[in-house]
Amino acid sequence: MNYGLTEDQQAVLSELERLIAGTAPDGHTEPEFAPYCEALDQELAQSGFLDIAREDGFGPLDAALVVECLARAPQIVEAAASALVGPALGLPVGLRPVALVEHDPLKPARFLPRAGVLLADLGDRVLQVTVDPDRVVPVDSLFAYPYGRLETLDGLETKDVADVATLRRRWRTALAAEAAGCMAGALALVVEHVKDRRAFGRPLGAFQAIQHRLAMAAETVESCKWLAFRAAWSDSEADAALAAAFAQKRIPQFAFDLHQFSGAMGLTLEFSLHLWTYRLRALSGELGGAAAQARQAALATWPEAAA
């Protein structure tokens, strides 16, 4: 047991933070619901960080560290599925961004307008669809991801992949790692806000009613992070479901509290809280939501054979 980063992990995260800082919005950008950061996406594609799980001496845990770190930033890029799902399903290096969808390949999917490939969980198999960006219909939403959908699969290259369990396991881990980073980013923003914003003669953050809920939010962030990292390290079904269940279960209260403490400011695009909370809200509904993950965690932890 060792929660410390290795020298290699420190080096990777340090370089990643440099890339994030180098592509940060300049403050004069018009606020948007879901501004995709092409600059960071290109940097990531060139750096190879999203392929870290494929490298000798590295693995899914390193990929989860990258995903969590990126999600803390306000820049929106597709990283989690590329770093954690793609390598496990044997997608070729560079085939990305990766979009994920359940049940119906024609449903709206995160990142589909930018995606190189769509992986659809069809229950008994995974359908891999090579995406032609011209065929994607953008879908407007409040969620802080670019969404899109396909109107038909006709004429698109598709193939079946048998390993649904791997897709779901890595999707859950990716979701948990991304949620952990989004939570950390959101909490940092709101903590600074309540230190600065004053009411009734003192900073908002000096009121115990606010302190306690932010303290609970801090426990949520930390728990979510370590559960996600453990899931990536073990790559086990139970840990992955548990990490995703925890994240999805906590998202509604977490998002509510953070917006509450940001007041009307938190309802504006200018404040940028939505860049994290509306990623979180999108994540909260994937793979059937918290109830489905909790059930899956229970079934994987206490399988019938062990009764």
């Binding site: 230190k195 302190q211 728990s223 559960l227 059930r295």
Partner: protein
Amino acid sequence: MEFGWTAVEQMHRERIRELLDDLLPPDWEQMSLHGPGSDEQTAFSKDFCAELASRNLLVPNWPRAHGGEDAEVWQQFILGEEMWAVGEPRGPQYMNINWVGPALMKYGTPEQLEKYLPPIREGQAVWCQGFSEPSAGSDLAALRTQAVPVDGGYRVSGSKIWTSYAGHADTCFLLARVPASHGGAQDKSGIVILLADMKSEGIQVKSIPALIGEGDIHEVFFDEVFVPEADRLGEEGQAWEIIMYALQHERVGVARYEFSRRILDRAVGKLKESGRWDDPSVQEKAGQALMLCEAARMLVYRIVDGKARDLPPDAYANVARWAIVLADNGVNDFLTENLPEGLLGEDPVQQAHHQRAIAAGVASGAAEIQLNLIARRWLELPSERTRT
């Protein structure tokens, strides 16, 4: 970063599990119904801890110079985790090992070490913690029990409440205040720590009937009790530093989530046997209770990891404590809803868990204090008193 155990750590865990199989009597589950402060468990703890001591497994975390083994931090923690998993058969003695001993080693005189450490490391000492008072619980600095300096020591008057194990304790780790009339400061620096012999004249212990089990909480009255100066721990004015040191050890050492996790595993087995496990809503709620246990585990491991890597302490102990309260209560709620028969005489272990869970947010200081500390020390939010 690594979340696995070494082969040595796994062997250590196996050894402890085998030992527990050998040492716990067949009626241990029934005995645990009575609570760690009961006559039965206190008496059992002396036999059990003596057995652990004979195998160098009672105080392995202590330095060799004081009879320990200088054990690795994780080895000691695994020991505690396995003890909690079966309901903590060390009973009241876990706190001697975790913090009373270490506080004595750091601040005690050679005479105090000679007097108090041997019975602890032999598994024969029962201590109680004379901290809380009727008007000073989580707000410890408000305590009013007086220690009036007299020739050769102090005369202590006042009362303590919620004191666990007082009915069987040999010694009380007692906090009292030197009155202003005798030069004591009225803030934290006016507190002294006295190692009071519980057989002293003037001490009266009254058990308080409670939901959390017999013999667990008491009121202790001090009527002009003489405590020799030789039994004061540290100097006058040093008490708060010692308390903080002791509490740091106390709060890190307890793997309560493991008891919750094991009882949850057990509950799922019972639900399967009775055919109730097939209900998806039961599975979902079990999964939610499980995630709370595992979150608490990961946060507690993070603290232990900090100790193992010799990192400076931070507010993670407070974050973890909150997670433990959620885990204990989450599991308890699941059990009460889905296995209510466990609280109707069918399952003494479930009842013992219930009794610990309902105290989780109160014992060792209210959980809200932990939230205050997370806000202040982890998030660096301004003090409530801040005014612009």
